[in-house]
């Protein structure tokens, strides 16, 4: 295999299965094959391509569904029917479709890597910025306008090494991060419409979060909810080694769902990478890289991208299987010793950046990774390696899921380290009170946990009236605010404005209740007031009618006299 380099793509046997070189020892190369290898034996030919595993980047990405090595699953179906046959080779981007290209730069302009030279309206929601590839600079010799396929030349740049033709499409090796000028600290929240996340444990645009939890605790539902409702420009969902039906669900549902901002079908800004559990393990390993590279490409255009990887454990297991085959020395739980490094490198590709090229712009990649630890045990090396690099931890608990408290995010053990850096933005855009209200609510929940401990030991009689009231308020925070049903047409999404109102109404009721206690009412009388029921139905008030929550506040005022 001389002439080939590490991570070059090769084709194996006459069936032309796709593979990648993952070890070189003298003349011997180890190849990881991205397809099932049944029926392949010694002596088969191997065809080198001398290129690393790369993705095609250009118009046509949005709305696609790819396997782990960027083969469009819809085209595979057209060619091969219901199952994924082997050796199929289909390019990631459609070669026939003509895109309307509007140039921004002119002949004679000097351009460098990352400069935006024109635009294509890819979908109603996404204007695709056509950029000079990162490593090219020079002077524009020709510039075209009109309709082109992704391989047509739209621009020619005179560089020091000669003429360089620019097409709507560029290629980039998946294992190499795309360059940017600078990394900046994330300080704008990415809102998801999920109350427990946005209010209590927010993630920043350009930040990263980790959702570990045992099976059935709600990781996928959270990831789907974020894909549906996050206020990002581009959504990437990587189904890594999980269920086929979950991908089908997204495929069938997203075209029907409307983006809350624009009212257009969500699929117009969404891209799926689906390498389900029954598809080859090696392509599963590649799928997260395929995803993040596409994310970087849209980031480079100046967009805010969010990537949901469900589940990174399956990716780690794919690494483990491959490493096992290479007979590498295993680390913890049989995972390769470089597991932590790979995970850190992956999350490092998230971030808020100053993009390469002109005009000046910032781009964001937010990464949210599910982790599926064996038995839900957080000591798992994948969880631990991930927690070392991400700043948000949503701790899903079996106990909560069993009681159908969804999202089953434990309010006491989860955390977001972004709260402080988001403070300024939140105060300016949502309100001065929001973060302090959240703090108060949190304090109530913490106190509730202590009181419950006492109740378990000696019963409710030992509590004071104030404490019993606090327990009721805590229950209300849990059931009427934190609990959110993803499958209820209204409850599924809550704007931050409504979140702010809901939380302050609950706290208002608490202070109202306390002053009623002072004025001599018994706690029994207070908890039986019908106002509690109105509070519990706030979540079903539509976004257009959130002023109704103010009425509840007025009623509380009236109660207090």
């Amino acid at each position: 295999m001389s002439g080939s380099k590490m991570y070059d793509v090769v084709r194996v046997s006459e069936k032309k299965l796709i593979g990648e070189i993952i070890e070189l020892k003298g003349e011997i190369a180890s190849i990881q094959v991205y397809e099932e290898t049944g029926g392949i034996g010694p002596g088969e030919p191997v065809f080198p391509t001398y290129e690393p595993l790369s993705v095609e980047l250009g118009p046509g990405l949005m709305g696609s569904i790819y396997d782990g090595v960027q083969r469009p699953l819809d085209d595979i179906m057209k060619q091969a029917g219901n199952s994924i046959a082997r050796g199929i080779s289909i390019p990631g981007l459609d070669r026939e479709h003509k895109w309307k290209f509007k140039p921004i730069k002119k002949e004679g302009n000097k351009v460098g890597g990352g400069d935006i030279i024109g635009e294509v309206q890819e979908t109603v929601l996404v204007t695709h910025k056509v950029m000079i590839p990162p490593n090219v600079s020079g002077k524009i010799m020709h510039m075209k306008e009109g309709e082109f396929t992704v391989t047509d030349v739209v621009c020619v740049v005179e560089t020091e090494e000669g003429e360089r033709e620019i097409t709507l499409m560029q290629k980039w090796p998946v294992r190499k991060p795309r360059p940017c000028i600078d990394k900046l600290p994330p300080d704008i929240p990415m809102y998801t419409g999920q109350r427990v996340i946005d209010a209590f444990f927010p993630v920043a645009k350009g930040g990263s979060a980790c959702v570990p939890g045992p099976f059935g605790s709600g990781k996928t539902v959270i990831q789907h909810q974020i894909s549906k409702w996050a206020d990002a420009d581009i959504i990437l969902f990587v189904g890594c080694g999980e269920r086929g039906n979950e991908m089908t669900d997204v495929l069938l549902e997203f075209p029907e769902l409307k983006d809350p901002k624009s009212g257009e079908p969500l699929m117009k800004r969404t891209l799926l990478v689906a390498n389900t559990s029954n598809m080859p393990v090696a392509a599963r390993e590649a799928s997260v890289y395929t995803g993040i590279t596409i994310a970087e490409y849209f980031r480079d255009m100046g967009y805010s991208v969010t990537l949901q990887a469900d589940s990174t454990s399956r990716w780690a297991e794919a690494m483990r299987e491959i490493s096992g085959r290479l007979e590498e020395m295993p680390g913890e739980e049989g995972y390769p010793a470089y597991l932590g490094t790979r995970i850190a490198e992956f999350y490092e590709r998230a971030g808020r950046v100053k993009c390469l090229g002109e005009p000046d712009r910032e781009g964001f990649i937010t990464v949210i990774g599910s982790v599926s630890p064996p038995g839900g045990d957080l000591a798992d090396p994948v969880v631990q390696s991930t927690l070392r690099v991400v700043k948000v931890f949503w701790d899903l608990q079996d106990r909560l899921a069993n009681a159908r408290h969804f999202p089953a995010i434990d309010w006491l053990s989860s955390y977001s380290l972004y709260t402080d850096s988001l403070k300024k933005w939140v105060e300016e855009n949502i309100g001065k009170e929001f973060q302090s209200n959240v703090k108060d609510a949190m304090a109530i929940l913490e106190r509730e946990a202590e009181l419950q401990e006492i109740v378990r030991l000696v019963g409710v009689e030992s509590l004071s009236s104030e404490e019993i009231l606090l327990l009721e308020v805590a229950r209300s925070i849990r059931e009427d605010f934190l609990h959110q049903n993803a499958f209820h047409e209204i409850d599924t999404y809550t704007s931050t404005k409504k979140q702010e109102k809901m939380l302050s109404a609950i706290l208002h009721l608490y202070s109202g209740g306390l002053s009623l206690l002072k004025s001599g009412k018994t706690v029994d009388e207070i908890v039986k007031l019908p106002i509690w029921e109105r509070i519990s139905r706030m979540k079903y008030i539509g976004e257009k009618k959130i002023e109704d929550i103010d009425k509840i506040n007025k009623e509380i005022d009236k109660l207090m006299g």
Partner: protein, 457 residues
């Protein structure tokens, strides 16, 4: 292209190394002929230049190095398929064992199948009425779902599976349906229980059975679920039948997997099970489903016994990570004589949300089950508290919840093996139980449904 060798190198556990081989392919099937004329089957697990590692399905006992012949078949394990497979019984490798003639194949298919393209799938959303309230009402099964039963030794998982097979129907539709039953390492008695049940209900003529009993070759179990699912795929996607597949017991399957892994001296994962067990189980379970362009479907009910009733044991754990929920049987309920003893809190059907509601079951179904579960869960909390502190320590509301959860177990969950409840009966029963609470307590239910159903049924 048959290649024959007499070059057995080493034998270890269920594995044999054959040397000096040429053009052997990965996953190829072979036949091993012993000196005494007996033949066994094997499959290539690994080829390395001129050596092939073969796993012997019937085990290697009695095989010696000289005098053994190995014939490679040039292809993987295949199953003969035709509509005649219904009403028939096969061994774990798919060979007839009912003294009836061989199947005249219309088609032969590799038992490993090919991974379904997620783009070709259709989302399972057709409600299956099993007639069991704890399932229909709270953990609804839909066509094309894979929903395992997590059981423990001695719990009545078999009667539950048989009841589902007996009662399952899609309302308002007369369609062709079939049952595929695969036994892995269970006792003759257990297999006989299913056969009798199928015979009594007349289902036997629509059933294909693949039987690997406790005393049959262990390694053969690796092939059994794949053989069964190959039959199911044929019935579902070529004959367009709605096919219910029961696989029992997956715990025995996983143990066979562990045995081979140990023989290959692989680095063991948790509790000695191989690191690739997730992927391996997925290659079985993910074969369930529906396709956009086919009428039939494969609904999969694997049964597994959790060692020591431990849900975090690798077998239930990895299964739960792949399947679309689980029905969990609880020993506590079984002791209380609740039948079927379905522990509804840790049970879950993930596909229920799209299989219920107006036009499928009833408009109030989703709100109703959310409320029932919420009340039951609070009742169980109260029960725990009352065990420690006595009932007197509970608030009046908690006492009410406690009373509810007790009634709920006795009347809603418990119903007996032969009661077939229509979905309306199940839903109305839920409303009846909820009427114990004041209206204001039922926060998970929309006003319009409270208006319409509360206190009215």
């Amino acid at each position: 292209m048959v290649k024959e060798y007499r070059t057995v190198g080493t034998i270890s556990g269920p594995l044999m190394l054959i040397e000096g081989v040429k053009e052997i392919k990965y996953a190829e099937l072979c036949e091993i002929e012993l000196k005494n004329g007996e033949t066994r089957k094997g499959q290539v697990l690994e080829v390395d230049a001129d050596r092939a590692l073969v796993q012997v399905f019937e085990g290697t006992r009695g095989i010696d190095i000289p005098g053994t012949k190995v014939k490679f078949k040039g292809k993987g394990i295949e199953l003969s398929l035709s509509p005649e497979i219904l009403g028939r019984m096969f061994n774990g490798m798919g060979e007839p064992i009912d003294n009836a003639p061989e199947i005249l194949p219309e088609k032969r298919a590799d038992i490993n199948g090919e991974p379904l393209n997620p783009y070709a799938r259709n989302y399972p959303n057709e409600f299956i009425q099993t007639g069991i309230s704890a399932i229909d009402g709270l953990n609804t099964l839909v066509r094309g779902q894979k929903l395992p039963i997590f059981s423990g030794s001695g719990l009545p998982h078999n009667s539950l599976a048989a009841q589902i097979a007996r009662q399952a129907k899609v309302l308002g539709k007369e369609e062709k349906f079939a049952v595929v039953f695969a036994a892995m390492g269970i006792t003759y008695e257990e297999a006989e229980f299913f056969m009798n049940d199928f015979r009594n209900t007349g289902a036997i003529s629509r059933t294909s059975m693949f039987i690997n009993l406790a005393n049959d070759p262990v390694i053969e179990r690796i092939a059994t679920p794949r053989v069964a699912l190959t039959a199911a795929e044929y019935l579902a996607f070529e004959l367009e039948m709605h096919t219910l597949v029961i696989l029992t017991d997956m715990t025995n399957y996983c143990e066979a997997l562990r045995e081979i892994s140990a023989a290959r001296k692989e680095i063991p994962g948790r509790r000695g099970y191989p690191g690739y067990m997730y992927t391996d189980l997925a290659s079985v379970y993910e074969r369930a489903g529906r396709l956009k362009d086919k009428k039939g479907s494969i609904t999969l009910i694997p049964i597994l016994t959790m060692p020591e009733d431990d849900k975090t044991h690798p077998i239930p754990d990895l299964t739960g990570y792949i399947t679309e929920g689980q029905i969990l049987l609880g020993r506590g309920l079984y002791r209380k004589k609740v039948s079927p003893p379905i522990d509804v809190l840790p049970s879950l059907s993930r596909l229920k949300d799209k299989g219920i509601g107006q036009g499928k079951t009833r408009e109030d179904h989703a709100d109703l089950f959310n409320q029932l579960i919420a009340c039951y869960s609070r009742g169980k909390e109260a029960e725990e508290l009352s065990i420690v502190l006595g009932e007197a320590a509970l608030s009046d509301m908690d006492k009410l919840y406690l009373k509810f959860s007790d009634k709920f177990e006795k009347r809603y969950i418990s119903q007996g093996d032969y009661e077939d409840r229509a979905i309306e009966t199940t839903l109305d029963l839920g409303w009846k139980l909820l009427s114990m609470f004041p209206k204001g307590e039922l926060k998970r239910i929309r006003d319009e449904f409270l208006e319409k159903y509360y206190g009215k049924v």
